[in-house]
């Protein structure tokens, strides 16, 4: 139990997927204009990454490793994750339209989020078992959501400020993201 909590804290804060491992930067910068949109994306990411980690872990343990095909894991994971998101989307549309409309466009968008693949591969590299993979995936996604919601909040404040002309738009967002990344380095002292 203790190790699972450590995995969640570690993947959410210490090895934050965006600010420490630099995965999923594209949606991190692209969808962080509004807090509401980024929170929706965050929820969708939590949903997808948790399921994807579980499936990838099962696939690796019971198909790829016994057959000695470790080296194919990247391709297999891409294939399976893409299909998985599609199926999950169809499933939600049919059975839970409320969740489907809430997640909206973000669900299919996540298929192309490298963070999802990144988590699946890191899990395997760390030699996690099934339960650990699920928790690690969940923690990572929580870290992603935390980062994107924080950046969205910063951006809504930045918009009110009177900035020098050259800094407006993308430059100030990159600076803010960089400062956030430095701030998150502080969590590395949590590592034990």
């Amino acid at each position: 139990m203790k190790s699972l909590i450590l995995i969640i804290v570690g993947s959410a804060l210490i090895h934050n997927v965006v600010l420490n491992q630099f995965l999923g930067i594209c949606s991190f910068l692209g969808v962080s204009k509004q807090i509401k949109a980024s929170a929706s994306l965050g929820v969708a990411v939590i949903f997808v990454i948790t399921i994807a980690s579980a499936v990838a872990s099962l696939l690796y343990d019971y198909v790829l490793k016994p057959l000695g095909m470790d080296f194919m894991k990247t391709i297999v994971f891409i294939l399976v994750i893409a299909a998985l998101v599609q199926i999950v989307e169809m499933f939600l549309k049919k059975t839970a339209p409320a969740i489907y409309t809430a997640l909206g466009i973000y669900l299919p968008l996540i298929t192309t989020n490298c963070a999802v693949l990144g988590v699946a591969l890191t899990n395997v590299q760390n030699g996690y078992n099934f339960i650990e993979c699920v928790f690690s995936g969940f923690g990572t996604a929580v870290g992603y959501t935390l980062a994107i919601v924080l950046l969205a909040s910063i951006r809504t404040r930045i918009r009110e400020e009177d900035l020098p002309e050259p800094l407006r738009g993308a430059p100030i967002v990159l600076i803010a993201a960089a400062l956030m990344s430095i701030a998150f380095m502080g969590f590395s002292s949590l590592a034990f």
């Binding site: 198909v63 057959l67 000695g68 095909m69 194919m72 391709i75 297999v76 294939l79 399976v80 299909a83 599609q86 199926i87 169809m90 499933f91 549309k93 049919k94 059975t95």
Partner: protein, 267 residues
Amino acid sequence: MQIIIATTVVLALIGLVVGVGLVYAGKKFHVEVDERETAVRECLPGNNCGACGYAGCDAVAAAIARGEAPVNACPVGGAPVTEKIGAIMGVSAEAQEKKVAFVRCKGSCEVTHNQGNYIGIPDCRAAALSGLNVTDCDYGCLGFGSCVQVCPQHAIKVVDGVAVVDRRKCIGCGLCVKACPKGLIELMPESKHVAVQCSNKDRGPQVKKVCSAGCIGCMLCTRQCEVGAITVTNNLAHVEYESCVQCGKCAEKCPAKVITMPVRVEV
């Protein structure tokens, strides 16, 4: 060699399983989408401006297909889009003319006596909240351009302290109407040009004191109008665009020259 073949076979098998799974899921979880919804969506402009009051073009297309929104729900597309959607929905298009925004104030720096004491955030809404004066006229344009900021087409410009709409660029979305804290902007049919360029509801002498281009409510225009399209309520003239025949007689007689034929302004 063996490992290559094995890998290919396993990967192909995984691909097959995934593909079959997708097809099965597609059948099993198939949701009926109204095909009219897709067709309607294709007719819409796709700006997602939200002027219709729905969350983007997809949402309004769904509402039209369900019959909850009228076929002319999109104010931006105007008549051509309404016609196309009407054809899809099997409804004869209720003709709706394209509308454009019009600023009911003529109080430029020249004609008003600018003795405002407002110093603060250069924004109309902030200035209106402060309770201080920007110009002497309590009704007039503040000139900080809140409307300019919300306009998706950059069709509004503040010229000499008064917002002016470029009717060619205006798409009639009405965002500026909502943005103006003084309620100066209204939507008028694009084909009509006679309009009262003032919103001051004070009595004549009071108006004259603060602005030489204000409506003093003298009623001269109402007598000129042959079709009764112009009325004066609360000391302020207003043109009924539906019945106006655009003869321009009211504009000629107006002593303050506040009834204008708004022409296109180069922005």
